[in-house]
Amino acid sequence: MNRFITHTLSRLRAMSAELEGNAHGTGQGMRSRSVLVLSICACLLAACADHSGSPASASVPVTADVAVVRLMQLPVTSDVTGSIVSDGRINVTTRVLGFIRQLDVREGQPVRKGDLLLRIDASDIDAAIVQAAAGVQVAQEAWQDAQYDVRQNTQLVPVGAIPADLLRKSRLREETTRAALEQARAALAAAQAQRNYVDITSPVDGVVVSVTGRSGEMAAPGAPLLTVESREVLLFKTFVPEHNLAAIKAGDSVSVRVDALGDERFKGRVRGVVPSGDGVSRRNEVDIVLPRDARLLPGMFGRLEILVDEKPVITVPRAALVRRGGLDGVFVLQEGVARFRWLRTGKHLGDALEVSAGLLDGETILARATDVVRDGTPIQVVGSVR
């Protein structure tokens, strides 16, 4: 009996001891248990880490060019579009009426000053010349006859062979015939001058830009037959909104960007602002004289960049831009590791891109990212940092 009680009591004590232990601290109790769990976990984790760590550590650093991002002052411009026009544009017409006998120039053909452009059929002019020449002949004959009469009568009148009145009349006839001769000569000259208008030559060095007449067509005076444009002066003609006019005055040097020539900028000079504006669209015509350049062609589309302000922007080379997971960005070098950075890109500035958010001044980016570069790829820098 007693034995059992002792037994029970010792059990009880053991239990309460256990309880005390428990109570002591799920703090300590738990801690000691967690030590066990911890070590198991640690073993497992170590295994995991080895497993997962190997590819990361084994991943060879990728060599890459880097570039340092710099804040740049970018001019803020207001673009107005316009077209290049030629300042010397000559419409060629005929002065004489006649069929076009010869017209060999074509659109786009360069011509030099004095080159024959077209020839009008001259047969009626030639006939008129012959006729006029004949008239001169007639007048000449008549004048010589009148001269002879005057000479003869001059000798006869003092001798009283004829009345003085006859001499006076013969002198008068001599003068009229001389005038008639002059007239006939002038008529001949006029007829001969007509002949000059038959061959039409280029008045300037330039390019034939349009040909409307055709050989065999009747050319009438005033109707343009072809157009020759001078290459000597090219103008950029644009319409500038009122509020930008203040920034422009005659003689200013401005830059014009021509789309067709790969956004190349040409320095031009403002020749003048046409003072009368358009009351509806609130724009004034501005003419800008462009420099001589063989590539510039009239009719090209261009933009006048009016400098309004300057602003600091961050730019990245276009080659640095990569697309990862549908996002455009660059790889930023951080502690020897490439980190992808999503960028908000703005305007295209030639080879560079404006970045409106995502990069800071002084950060180092990969100048050219290849497909092997991923977020977290170690990078070995080649060359010096630009």
């Binding site: 009996m1 034995r3 059992f4 009680i5 002792t6 029970t8 009880l12 239990m15 309880l19 428990n22 109570a23 002591h24 601290g25 799920t26 703090g27 738990m30 769990v37 911890l38 976990c41 640690a42 984790l45 995991c48 880490a49 497993h51 997962s52 760590g53 190997s54 590819p55 803020v76 207001s78 673009d79 107005v80 579009t81 909104p241 509020h243 930008n244 789309d259 509806v280 669209s281 609130r282 933009r303 997971g325 549908g326 996002l327 960005g329 980190r339 992808f340 950075r341 999503w342 960028l343 890109t345 703005g346 305007k347 295209h348 409106s356 958010a357 995502g358 991923r374 977020d375 977290g376």
Partner: protein, 1108 residues
């Protein structure tokens, strides 16, 4: 034996003791239990029903102030008329107002919403004519996804993943009990017309012309049918775009006799948007074996989330969904798309429930062992068999009553375990005693009935007391804690009631069948131990060693007054010291702020739980572009990538992640915009990790903070799922005031104070950063002269900024609408201050530059105006990494109380009393403490009410039972004795005193009173049998010692398994240490007090007799 009048217990025992029905009853109850375990929906935590809804009203073009006065304030007024509304919060933005109505916790969701709809629709007439139709959106916890899985791939992009996910989502909708299936994170196909303003200008086409030409050409028109050749034939105009090529080749204008096509002035793209505003990415962490291989980080991700229908079993739904998902993965999902389950609340609930069921069994086993030692295996076995029956009845009652199986229910069962074996123990012990000492010739059945009958009343009373205590819990608790603890308040009384029933029905029957009367005689030690338990009426046994020790200790106390006084003083001192452990922080000279003193026990609300997931909520200044937000997130992700315990994480940029219950109530779930982001981090399963999520987060905080510091104004919060109800912030200052500007100043002041407070992290405030706004003001005169209308200007501006959806492309095999969108891409971005590249066509068809028609003025965006309960408000909140909010709030309160507010008057603070204060700005600015502090106060208030209510009721019942006012007090002296053990207990375990500790104390009250009742009952019984008081007290103490210890050990071992749980550990510690201390002291103090009382009573009656 004369048959006494049987009480309830006796009657039940008599009816069932030989009845066949008992067996039927047992089998039926067991089956019921099995059904209940299988059928009852399982949850991790009890569902907290907080009906809430948002009413959104648009007032196009109105400023925030206009919206506030014209829409929001009247609406708030109307909505506050609704009964059952707890709080109303509103935000007035430019052009839009939103009012959030939060109903009282526990209000019926459907009824509340119907009322709300009714009111809002009736109030339509009060709103300005141009206000849009009010849109009521209910904030529904049922729509929170229980399962999410993420599709991710290194070869497919977000758009392709989205297409696969769409197909998967379609097939999931048909699964049983699935409610909302939604996709998040993917990109949608669109045909984008990226207009180049310069090219448009060159071609002399305006934006408006381009837009109109595209918009009117995208048409399909069904026409009325015609009859030809006696047959009806249908006609249809088909001009809709069927491909991007169609759009590209659309003629938009003729310029100089030359046609201008869309392709001339725009780049047409088909596919995912090239400039996404929100994205999601997925990465494997070091905790996942897949990490480390190539292409396991930073992958595009699309998440499919699935919510369940209300009342459905999350476990079943989640299993079904995942099974389908795996089947689809095997059949049509491409091999190189990985599908990862990123949330599985079903699994989580199942794990939690299974773990607790396991714990329940362990607890049961431990209690069983205790019983075998004390009662012998046969009796122990009978008691142990009754326990599952009781639990079965309880669970079945829960199923019928709509209480789910969740952590709280199961903790309630574990808690109840220690209590409910008691009824069985008492009955079997008394039967045992009667068998041992009764007349061997007496009828066994009659003896059993008699034995049951004998203890019937006392047991009923004691059980009733415990039930009462827990029922008061249900009555007194309010708000979210009520919903959270409700299962305890229902389950424990239910289990107690069931325990009585089973004890009277099954125990006598089983005892009658299996406990042999003669067997006791043969079993020497058993017989002796039973003798010791015998009450003196049946002759005294020789006291056992335990009893001898007790008597040796009790003797001096009883005889020597000085020893008594020393003992009394010592007990009081201990009580004070223990209380001081909790109270020291408040009274110590170094102030309430700062770390907890060496011996102190912090008093908190609910401790955090070890979770498998946490969220990093990022909120940058409102001016932050999404790319910078992304950058901060990437930097944080780089830290996560080094954490060995991180299994994977998913980042959400420009949007919040898939909503969870916490996010829904914190208001972080609905955020969107370039400045917000979220990272959902999944950790390695908690069973396979040494570190708790609490520690992981605590270690991460400084690392994340170091990154955050580089981003002024950025707020990064590491949000752990709270174990209890979700809150806006742990420490939350609600600042009310008459003026928005003043509030802003005050908010900055308060924020600074927060920053200087010990242990605060993740400080947030609701004051947004000012965002620059360009006001485009048309010169109407000039515009009219140019023949341009303001509407045209608006149209052009819409195109330039953000773009306009012109229609929908009719593409074959596309399951989602593919919009055709015209926009100006970023590379051609137009500076809003300089609109000279944007043209509008005037009435004559000439292009007019917009710059000539408008003035652009810099301004700032309207700041949202926040209201709470009809007053202007702003919030400053903070989380605490390691300490409890009570101290931080009191510390802040001390520093902020009476500081000079922007209006020159002192700042008034409030809401630190037990009753919630309403905001009131008549006397200037006011600070009300909200967040966890408010809830802590509410809970402690409710639990105190519950405790005192319970004690009062028990007192009344005892007064009725003992017909004395003093004796119940003696009995209840056991309750404060429990305190002696409680605070040292917390200190030893290193836990915070929390709301569950308070629940534990309430439970403790029920338990320890029961012990003293039994002692007093025996003393009175002894006296009734003619024993002198002195001897009666001694004997009662000695005899009851063993059963009391048995009960105590049952409770301690039953609850011990709970200690490790961070949430309910508090309850267990209160119970274990309280019971321990109380029991150890009760066995001395209650008899002593009773004796003293009885002596005085005797003396007074004696002197009274003398006088008479």
């Amino acid at each position: 034996m004369t048959a006494p009048r049987l009480n309830f217990a006796g009657l039940l025992a008599k009816y069932f003791i030989t009845s066949k029905l008992t067996l039927v009853f047992i089998i039926a109850v067991a089956l019921l239990g099995v059904m209940a375990v299988l059928q009852t929906p399982r949850e991790e935590n009890p569902q907290i029903v907080v009906p809430a809804a948002a009413v959104v009203v648009g007032l196009p073009g109105a400023s925030a102030a206009e919206v506030e006065s014209l829409v929001v304030t009247p609406l708030e007024g109307i909505l506050s008329e609704l009964p059952g509304v707890d709080h109303i919060e509103s935000a007035s933005h430019n052009s839009q107002g939103m009012v959030q109505v939060q109903f009282k916790v526990g209000e019926s969701k459907e009824a509340s919403l119907v009322k709300l709809y009714d009111r809002v629709m009736a109030s339509r007439a009060w709103l300005p004519a141009e206000a849009t139709m009010p849109l009521v959106q209910s904030v529904d916890a049922d729509d929170v996804p229980i399962v999410t899985f993420t599709l991710t791939s290194s070869t497919y992009d977000a758009y392709a993943l989205n297409r696969v996910a769409e197909r998967m989502a379609e097939r999931l909708r048909s699964a049983e009990n699935v409610s909302v299936v939604s996709l998040r994170g993917g990109l949608h196909r669109e045909i984008a017309i990226e207009l180049d303003p310069d090219r448009l200008q060159a071609y002399g086409v305006t934006l408006g012309q381009a837009r109109a030409a595209v918009a009117v050409s995208n048409l399909n028109v069904p026409l009325p049918p015609t009859v030809r050749g006696g047959q009806v034939q249908a006609i249809k105009l088909e001009a809709a775009y069927a491909s991007a090529e169609d759009v590209r080749n659309q003629l938009i204008a003729v310029h100089d006799n030359r046609p201008v096509y869309v392709r001339d002035v725009a780049t047409v793209t088909d596919g995912a948007p090239s400039e996404p505003a929100m994205i999601s990415r997925f990465s494997f962490g070091p905790g996942d074996p897949r990490a480390g291989a190539a292409d396991t980080g930073d992958l595009p991700a699309v998440t499919v989330s699935v919510a369940k229908k209300k009342g459905a079993n999350a476990v079943v739904v989640a299993d079904a969904v995942i099974k389908r998902m795996q089947h689809m993965q095997a059949t049509f999902v491409p091999q190189d798309i990985q599908v990862i389950v990123t949330r599985n609340d079903g699994q989580k609930a199942d794990d939690a429930v299974n773990l607790l069921l396991e714990h329940l069994l362990i607890a049961l086993g431990t209690v069983g062992l205790v019983l075998i030692f004390f009662l012998g295996w046969r009796e122990a076995l009978i008691v142990m068999v009754t326990v599952p029956l009781i639990m079965a009845i309880t669970l079945a009652a829960n199923l019928l009553g709509g209480v789910t199986i969740n952590r709280v229910t199961l903790f309630a069962l574990i808690l109840a375990l220690g209590l409910l074996v008691d009824a069985g123990i008492v009955v079997i012990e008394n039967i045992h005693r009667h068998y041992a000492s009764g007349n061997p010739k007496a009828d066994k059945v009659a003896v059993t009935i008699l034995a049951t009958n004998e203890i019937g009343n006392a047991t009923n009373l004691a059980t009733f007391a415990v039930m009462l205590v827990f029922i008061t819990l249900a009555v007194a608790l309010t708000g979210m804690p009520r919903q959270y603890f409700f299962p305890v308040a229902v389950t424990v009384p239910m289990a107690m009631a069931a325990s009585i029933l089973v004890a009277y029905v099954v125990t006598p029957w089983a005892a009658n069948r299996w406990v042999h009367r003669h067997a006791i005689r043969h079993d020497e030690p058993q017989a002796e131990s039973s003798h010791e338990d015998s009450p003196p009426t049946h002759g005294h046994g020789v006291p056992g060693r335990l009893e001898r020790v007790y008597l040796r200790l009790f003797g001096p106390l009883q005889q020597c007054k000085r020893v008594r006084i020393v003992f009394g003083v010592a007990v009081l001192l201990l009580l004070m010291l223990s209380t001081l452990q909790g109270a020291w922080q408040f009274v110590r000279p170094s102030g309430v702020g700062g770390s907890v003193s060496a011996l102190g026990v912090p008093i908190g609300f609910l401790p955090k739980d070890n979770q498998n997931t946490f969220n990093v909520v990022v909120s940058m200044p409102e001016t932050t572009p999404v790319e910078n937000t992304d950058r901060l997130v990437r930097e944080i992700a780089a830290v996560l990538a080094k954490e060995p315990q991180v299994a994977n994480w998913q980042t959400w940029i420009g949007q919040a992640g898939v909503a969870d219950f916490n996010g829904l109530f914190k208001g972080t779930a609905a955020r969107a915009g370039s400045h917000v982001a979220e990272i959902r981090v999944n950790l390695v399963d908690k069973h396979q990790r040494k570190q708790s999520s609490i520690d992981i987060v605590r270690e991460l905080r400084p690392k994340v903070e170091a990154i955050r510091k580089a981003w002024p104004g950025a707020e990064v919060a590491l949000v752990e799922q709270p174990p209890g109800p979700p809150l806006r912030a742990t420490v939350l200052a609600e600042l009310y005031g008459p003026d928005a500007e003043g509030l802003r100043v005050l908010s900055a002041q308060v924020r600074k104070a927060f920053e200087q407070t010990y242990d605060t992290t993740d400080i947030t405030d609701s004051e947004p950063e000012d965002v620059l706004e360009h006001h485009v003001i048309p010169d109407k005169d000039k515009a009219a002269r140019s023949g341009v209308s303001v509407a045209q200007i608006a149209e052009a501006l819409q195109l330039v900024y953000g773009g306009v959806t012109l229609g929908r492309a009719h593409l074959p095999d596309e399951k989602l609408p593919v919009p055709v969108k015209a926009l100006v891409p970023r590379r051609a971005e137009v500076d809003p201050a300089r609109l000279d590249r944007v043209f509008v066509a005037n009435t004559a068809g000439q292009p007019v530059p917009l710059a000539e028609l408008v003035k652009v003025l810099p301004a700032s965006v309207d700041r949202p105006i926040l209201h709470r309960d009809n007053e202007k408000v702003t919030f400053v909140g903070a989380e605490l990494s390691d300490s409890v909010p009570l101290y931080a709030v009191l510390d802040l309160q001390r520093r902020l109380q009476g500081i000079i507010a922007p209006d020159g008057r002192p700042l008034r603070t409030g809401n630190l009393r037990f009753k919630e204060d309403s905001p009131d700005t008549i006397d200037g600015y006011q600070l009300l403490w909200g967040g966890e502090m408010r809830m802590t106060l509410d809970v402690y208030r409710d639990l105190s009410i519950s405790l005192s209510g319970a004690l009062l009721i028990i007192y009344f019942v005892l007064v009725a039972y003992y017909r004395s006012f003093i004796v119940p007090m003696v009995a209840m002296s056991a309750v404060p004795l429990g305190i002696i053990g409680i605070f040292p207990g917390y200190w030893l375990v290193g836990m915070d005193f929390s709301a569950t500790s308070m629940v534990g104390i309430v439970a403790l009250a029920g338990v320890v009173i029961r012990n003293s009742l039994l002692i007093i009952d025996f003393i009175q019984d002894n006296i009734r049998h003619g024993m002198p008081l002195h001897e009666a007290v001694r004997q009662a103490g000695a005899v009851r010692l063993r059963p009391i210890l048995l009960t105590m050990l049952a409770i301690i071992f039953g609850s011990a398994i709970m200690v490790t749980d961070p949430v309910f550990g508090g309850l267990a510690i209160s119970l274990i240490f309280g019971t321990l201390a109380s029991t150890a002291l009760t066995v001395f103090i209650v008899p002593l007090l009773y004796e003293l009382h009885a002596r005085r009573h005797e003396a007074s009656t004696a002197t009274g007799a003398d006088h008479a």
